[in-house]
Amino acid sequence: MDQRSDSELLTVSATEPGAFAVLYVRHAEDLLRYFARRTLDPEAAAELTAETFAQAFASRTTYRDTGANGVAWIYGIARHQLGRFFRSGRVDRDARRRLGMPERALPPADYERIEDLVDFAPIRGAIEEALLTLRQDQRDALRLRVIDELPYEEVARRLACSEQSARQRVSRALRRLALMLQERGLQPAMENDT
């Protein structure tokens, strides 16, 4: 296991790109959780994670070790990406495109795994209120999945649609919900995320 600090890894990665992968392994899941708790959307969270690391990799030579933890620099990029996402409703792809990284869809099994990273308990009440403003199909999917905590297989069966379609409805509904909660000042994430 690499013993170098995050700051050292970032600094070294300018001339030794492979060192950045160590940084990724250390922080990828935490960053994904950070995004999932804020966007409530597995797709958006995964994409934001990818774009943030791509951006950090592309900009690694601009990193200056000022004594602070190097991961804070990555979270600075993450906050920037998140802000852009909340403003535009979509995730940038610029950095990944410049690095020639392929466009990847979120594997079906990952939806539930990423949702597991989010603790819905503290925001369940707010979600129920915001649910009323969603479209009917998305509301039904979200209610079954988040309120009733049913597996996607069961959600799809009850809504008479494919499991993939059920996932997408929940994903879209969560994204809208996150935006609404953000607008109302109800941050779904917890303070100690980072």
């Binding site: 992968a21 990724y24 392994v25 990828a28 900009s59 410049r98 990847r104 990952d110 990423i114």
Partner: protein, 334 residues
Amino acid sequence: MNTNIEYLQQLEVDLLEAAQRAQDERITPAAATPARRSGSTWAKVAGVAAAFLVVAFAIGSLGESSSDKFQQVGDAATGGGGGDAGGGGIASPAAPPPTAAPPTEEPGAQGDLSKIIRDGRIGIVVSNGSFNDAVGNLTLIAERHSGFILSSTTNADRSGTFVLRIPAAEFDRARQEIRDLGLRVRFEQVKGEDVTAEFIDNRARLRILHDRKERLTELAEQADTTEEILLLGRQVDDVQLRIEEIQGQLRFLRDQVAESTLRVSIKEKSAPEPVAVAVVDQPDLGSSFELAVQGFLRILSAVIVGLGYLIPLTLFGLLIWLAFWVVRRRRAEA
């Protein structure tokens, strides 16, 4: 990687490959920094803006070309004391002296408030050998409508330009008759300039000045000392001077409104196009600079005209694009 999330595992592979490429191709990381991207983005924006301006200039040039042609001819006819291009100026036999002074503006007089100065340009083509006949007919038309030829320029008795002054009430009829002189009409333009506001302002100022003059005159009559009489007399003179200035402006406006200017270009069918050439007899830095400034202003003017066409079209296009984008986005979200 110690995670059960497949996406993160794939992402790790993608990042490792990107790192490998960076290593293999010896790409300096700076090549992918935001600053570099920002530079290329600015280059793109600058390129698009330059293309936009070039298109605007092209459109503006096209839009102005017809009026430019006429302008060149008209300028040749009227500019700089009327330098004759070859055939010599034609003295208008029908030219009445345009000096009949209209009656002095009566304060408070009410008339038609609408004051429009009308101006027109027309170019006609006549059959070969009939230029002089056409000029004679043009003179007759001017006479018949109580107008006159203010200036003229001819070129080898095959083409020429004429500036007519026609009473406004006869303007349209005269124009129609001039149209009928030719085999075909090359171009035609009619403009109207509304000077009503200027006219009303001047009349209001005149009324105020008349009142002031009247009061000053009364005061002067009651003045006791020489000093007072001289002071008030000077003030009356000043007011009178201003009254006369405004009366002059009103007279000029009234003349402009009463008589329209019609620039007529007549050309035989096979006569060459009249071209105005900027001649610099004794080239010097001053004239070169002046020509350069004029050229620049013409380009700028063409760009501005072109932008007048392009901006609404671009906005329209953007609206359509936005509508499509919104529809696509909604479908994608559904």
